[in-house]
């Protein structure tokens, strides 16, 4: 039955090759080509500058932070809505809203947060007028690492909710009832039954959230464009932009991003394989 297994995967593989892998390969290949068209490793070597290395580091940190927070908050929110036995209407609303919110990114999102938490934002103004509290004087600044992370969470959390919802649905009622019958507290239920079952899904979604944030540029650009140094912005500068650029370097940057995403994926796979050992 060997070949039969692959029939079902065939459409996917054909599609992936034609529409994902080959275009990417075009880009990856140009990482190894210099301006004249000859083979070179210079583009990769040129990645080793403080500016580029620090951009990778900041990118990773923002992605990890927003993925972790997004996953945690999303999980709590999804649990509250689905298992908290809130009305079905609430659940539907949350799911559809999450669908829209997960793609609400880029300039509209950056602007929405500027209009909310910026120096002249709605919340800033409310706090100043009614609570006599100037959050900017207290040290808050939207245009910072944490400001960016909070903004990213606007699409990370809904993404988490949407992806984890079916898994939470799969936590059968019978299990919590059985656990309660055996004397387990809710905490114990979650610790020994709930979370371990959800764990592989959580990891998978974390990996997705990480990649999602890692590749996101439009929001960061619109929010802190000139002062933030993340890889997609550098990539953008080389491949697009208004000034003469170095497409080879841009391709090398993209290659670097793909490698990091691959590494993150490997880490996730290793952890998940171990977690799944006792699950079928």
């Amino acid at each position: 039955m060997r070949w039969g297994d692959y029939i079902g995967v065939a459409p996917f593989l054909v599609f992936a090759i034609l529409f994902l892998i080959v275009p990417t390969a075009f880009l990856m290949a140009s990482a190894f080509v210099d301006r004249e068209g000859g083979f070179t490793l210079d583009n990769i070597a040129n990645l080793n500058t403080p500016q580029i290395l620090s951009s990778f580091w900041i990118s990773i940190r923002v992605s990890v932070a927003s993925a972790a927070i997004g996953a945690l908050v999303g999980l709590i929110f999804a649990l509250a809505v689905i298992r908290g036995r809130l009305p079905q209407a609430v659940r539907s609303t949350v799911l559809t809203f999450s669908g829209v919110a997960s793609q609400f990114a880029g300039i509209p999102l950056a602007f929405a947060f500027i209009a909310t938490l910026g120096r002249l934002g709605l919340i800033t103004w409310l706090f100043k007028t009614y609570l006599d509290l100037d959050i900017y004087r207290a040290g808050f600044n939207l245009l910072s690492f944490w400001g960016l992370t909070i903004t990213y969470c606007y699409f990370q959390i809904p993404l988490m909710i949407l992806i984890i919802a079916p898994a939470i649905d799969g936590l059968k009622k019978e299990w919590s009832e059985a656990a309660a019958t055996l004397g387990a507290t809710p905490v114990q239920f979650w610790r020994y039954v709930g979370l371990p079952v959800l764990w592989p899904n959580l990891l998978g979604t974390l990996s997705l959230l990480f990649a999602n944030a890692f590749g996101a540029i439009a929001t960061a650009y619109a929010l802190t464009g000139s002062s933030l140094n993340i890889v997609p912005i550098l990539l953008y500068a080389q491949i697009r932009g208004d000034v003469l650029n170095d497409p080879g370097l841009g391709a090398a940057l993209a290659l670097g991003m793909v490698v990091i995403a691959a590494l993150a994926n490997v880490v996730y796979l290793v952890i998940r394989t171990r977690a799944e050992r006792w699950l079928k």
Binding site: F145, S226, R240, V243, L244
Partner: protein
Amino acid sequence: MKLRFVTMVSATALVAAGAIAPAFADASQQLVDAAKKEGQLTVIALPHDWCGYGAVIEGFKKKYPGITVNELNPDAGSGDEIEAVKANKGNTGPQAPDVIDVGLSFGPSSKEAKLIQPYKVSTWDSIPDSAKDADGYWYGDYYGVMAFLVNTDIVKTVPKTWADLQKPDYANAVALSGDPRVANQAIMSVHAAGLASGGKLGADAAKKGVDFFAKLNKAGNFVPVIGKAAPLAQGTTPIVTTWDYNALSWRDGFNGNPKAEVVVPSDAVVAGVYVQAISAYAPHPNAAKLWMEYLYSDEGQLGWLAGYCHPIRFNDLAARKAIPADMLAKLPDPALYAKAVFPTLDEQAAAKDVVVKTWDSAVGANVK
């Protein structure tokens, strides 16, 4: 190639005086027929609010009905346009751009990469030499000078010079209209600030410009958000440095809400030229040529002027009194334009190098 504006004026005045062929010649009937047979024109990176392109495109469509205009990606930067030309080699569909409008430095580089084809419009002679390629591959289309757009509802004392921006009155107020590592406009802003600080055009001014913005940032006056019409109106970036034509058109778009003023800083007036070219792989070369004829005719040039961009044949038009008085009245003081400096290709390249390399360590990366 280092012609200053004043020299340009005298040069074109001489040319205009000695002009034999009427500068307002219409395109030949042959060309019009060939273009109509092709039936389509594909343009890229032309936002309707930039230099009044919306009206210019409408004018072209009205003059030559039967030619559909495909407008690709108005959001594109010059780099995107070049990529689009390269990617569409061999494609005859409506995704292949016929003509491009790119920053000055992209002209020679596209010619070298064999991505564009030469064409000399009928009004070729009235285009200043410093703004065109001798073989006709690329030619300047319009220029503008770096200016400030100030939200006067929020900023009470309007800054008049680059030096003014450093004053404590402007805390959390000043923003660039793009990312100086990516966008031509932003790099030119830095360049201009450096010129105002006493630097020489090129790498020296760029370095002084980066220092200027570093100082601005440390003083707390610089806002790293990319300044556009919306954040300016909302108040996050009440002062934005951008091309005068953008500033004027955004100001008009506000319709008084918020009240805004356009200021051309008096201590340094830097001009930037954009250039037109026809793609070497254009699927509709005749339509492309017709488009060029239209753009460089009086009608097309005035269309840009209505969008507040100074068309490249401005002096020729002014000398022949072809500019309506009310249009002239809406433009800022011409005395300021008289002292505008046009950085050469080499100076621009040197400046861009310095800014792109040093921006992050001097101004950026304050996101911990």
